[in-house]
């Protein structure tokens, strides 16, 4: 069977490196070209994944007819430019989350995907993690009864670099870490958020220009309650990058997804304790499914629209913080 040929647009986002690794591993995919506007980073990626075709201008990469799909892992604010350019060249796209930094950009990306008939998938990898997928199946079977509330955390360390630049990232921890669990909540409940209340406080890292603390309280249209702790509240010495934790309260049962606790504990002389993850590879599952979506010509599991809806929740959280009150969705 024909391999799907991939390009990667930028290694700015750390996940680009994971996706590249997956593409090298998958039989059904081939990583043929990479772009980065940072020369040094481009060279590093090129040698790390043994990709010869490197581009400092993404248009040149997109011009190639042999490329079927691209993964856009540039800075959040640049997603739109890259995704629309890719769509115009009829490339299928996986775009890193958050889909964009404002709803206008997200809508333009979704329209472009539609116009050019390409698959646009948002990298909501948690929809492809076996733990969160298992709970989705339990919910759909009705094992939990009616969902009453979902409490979630997506804690992390401070990722560094442009994540601290409000112009490129579109915000801090709230922009970075709200959308994964917000998306899972939408997916689990099959419902949309109606109301958002959020707070931030003094930063953990006072040198940051963006917030690293955030708490969000949600209500869905059908009344389901939700909460998200999206803080970058783990110090650099924390044994693992962070967590994705969801407690789902149902009328007939209670379940917990704690997706990144499948670790080996490792301690080396003079170093902080580490947790080395051995759980499922959600990135791999996601890209594999994306390839199937292309071959079967079906919608990806997490679409551009899903990306937009999750982004709206993060934006509403900022709005709520500015106003100090509850914000109703949809945002005007």
């Amino acid at each position: 069977m024909r391999k799907i040929k991939f390009g990667i647009l930028s290694f700015a986002h750390i996940h680009a490196w994971n996706y590249a690794q997956v593409l090298k591993k998958l039989e059904s995919a081939e990583l043929v070209a990479i772009f980065d506007d940072d020369k040094e980073r481009l060279a590093r990626a090129s040698s790390a994944y043994n990709v010869k075709d490197t581009y400092l201008n993404y248009h040149d990469l997109l011009k190639r007819d042999d490329i079927d799909a691209v993964i856009v892992t540039s800075e959040n604010a640049r997603h739109k430019e890259h995704v629309i350019a890719a769509a115009e060249r009829n490339k299928h796209v996986i775009v890193e989350k958050p889909i964009a930094t404002n709803l206008r950009d997200a809508d333009e990306m979704i329209s472009a995907a539609k116009k050019y008939g390409i698959k646009l998938q948002v990298a909501f990898v948690m929809r492809y993690h076996d733990a969160s997928l298992h709970i989705k199946e339990l919910i759909d079977k009705g094992d939990l009864g009616k969902i009453l509330s979902i409490m979630s955390t997506n804690h992390g360390k401070y990722p560094g670099g442009w994540f601290g630049d409000p112009d490129l990232a579109g915000g801090g921890a709230i922009m970075d870490h709200t959308v994964h669990v917000a998306d899972l909540m939408r997916w689990y409940t099959g419902d949309e958020v109606e109301e958002v209340y959020a707070v931030t406080g003094l930063n953990i890292r006072n040198y940051l220009k963006v917030e690293d603390v955030g708490l969000i309280s949600l209500k869905f249209k059908r009344g389901i309650i939700g909460s998200i702790d999206c803080s970058w509240s783990r110090p650099d010495t924390w044994p693992i990058w962070g967590d994705v934790y969801m407690a789902v309260y149902g009328s007939e049962g209670y379940v917990i997804v704690d997706a990144f606790v499948s670790n080996v504990t490792l301690v080396k002389e003079g170093k902080p304790l580490e947790w080395r993850y051995f759980g499922p590879d959600a990135d791999l599952n996601m890209i594999e499914d994306f390839i199937k979506a292309i071959k079967e010509d079906r919608e990806p599991r997490a679409t551009g629209y899903d990306g937009r809806q999750a982004l709206e929740i993060a934006l509403a959280a900022y709005d709520s913080i500015r106003k100090g009150e509850i914000v109703k969705l949809p945002l005007s």
């Binding site: 509330s149 959020a198 931030t200 953990i204 309650i225 110090p235 309260y249 009328s251 009150e325």
Partner: protein, 334 residues
């Protein structure tokens, strides 16, 4: 020295916990057990070799030899019993919550002053080993300044106390159970300036009291917090607590299961247990006893408990009005 004579009012769940600890305290002894259900009073009294048991608490107030009244009755009865006991010159320890109304808390505080008796509210988390350890770390400055905190408390509904179904009697899960976390966080982190809460009667039928609440807190010092209380757990769910404090220099977290030193599984049940030198209830009652003997301030004043009550009431008000509520509260909620 003669032992302090204690009358225990309320032979229910908390009464059973307290009497077991009183029996370990050298300077005090329970000499009477009271319960509106006299059989229950008798049973608990027998179990601890206490001679006297009564149906009406007023009967023990007349007894001059009684020094201390330990109020372990449902929350809605606290004020009446506590105030009347203090009017009879008795020292009073009352289970949390102090009351359901600030007005009632104020009356209790005034009664203790007027009668020059010791008054304490049993916020046991201030003596709970893992919370004490956490507080020590916070106070040491090792975490730096507090920034974001999380605290949960999850349990099946307390079926043994059906009055918890009624908002006017027990106040609901946040007032009754999350009050522990709120009190601890006030003690360890600082005063709360604003509360937003969401919750409802999610699983109970024909109940008026919330069985699930989450609250987002703003503290005066710039920290924020998330506190969740749940009585909607399945019956098989083991009582679970979680605490996480993040400061600008570090993080601490602790829960009641990963720290348990004993785990037991039989065909009938599964449970785990964290052994400690002396448990929180013992410390709480022992320190109250000492405050009476030494004529010192009890470790938790009525005013402290009132401030904690104010925060949980603000959460209830926030749920009712669906908007953030600033402290102090301007009046009562229930």
């Amino acid at each position: 020295m003669e032992k302090l004579k204690v009358a225990l009012i309320g032979a229910g769940f908390m009464g059973g916990i307290h009497i077991a600890r009183w029996s370990m305290i050298g300077n005090a002894e329970v000499i009477a057990v009271v319960d509106i259900n006299k059989e229950r009073a008798k049973k608990l009294a027998r179990e601890y070799n206490v001679k006297n048991f009564y149906k009406n608490y007023k009967d023990v107030l007349k007894e001059d030899k009684i020094d201390v009244i330990d109020v372990c009755t449902p929350t809605y009865t606290h004020k009446e019993i506590a105030v009347e006991s203090m009017e009879h010159g008795k020292h009073v320890i009352v289970e949390k919550p102090i009351a359901l109304r600030l007005k009632d808390a104020d009356e209790m505080i005034k009664a203790s002053k007027r009668n020059h008796v010791k008054f304490m509210v049993a916020h046991c988390l201030r003596f709970w080993p893992e919370y004490v350890a956490a507080k020590k770390i916070i106070d040491s400055g090792e975490l730096g300044e507090p920034r974001i905190v999380r605290a949960y408390r999850q349990s099946p509904f307390p079926d043994w106390a059906p009055w918890h179904n009624e908002i006017k009697l027990g106040g609901g899960v946040f007032i009754d159970m999350s009050i522990h976390d709120i009190d601890f966080l006030r003690w360890a982190i600082g005063e709360v300036s604003e509360v937003y809460a969401r919750g409802g009667v999610l699983r109970r039928r024909n109940a008026t009291a919330c069985d699930y609440v989450h609250a987002v807190l703003k503290f005066s010092n710039g920290a924020v917090g998330y506190v969740e209380g749940s009585w909607i757990m399945p019956k098989t769910f083991p009582f679970t607590t979680y605490l996480e404090i993040v400061g600008n220099m570090g993080i601490l977290k602790v829960d009641n299961h990963t720290t348990s030193s004993v785990k037991v599984f039989t065909e009938e049940k599964a449970f785990d247990y964290t052994f400690v030198y002396k448990d929180a209830y013992y410390e709480e009652l022992n320190l109250f006893t000492r405050s009476i003997i030494e004529d010192a301030q009890p470790p938790i004043s009525g005013l402290e408990a009132r401030k904690t009550l104010e925060v949980v009431l603000a959460a209830v008000k926030s749920i009712m009005e669906n908007k953030p509520v600033k402290l102090p509260l301007k009046g009562d909620i229930l």
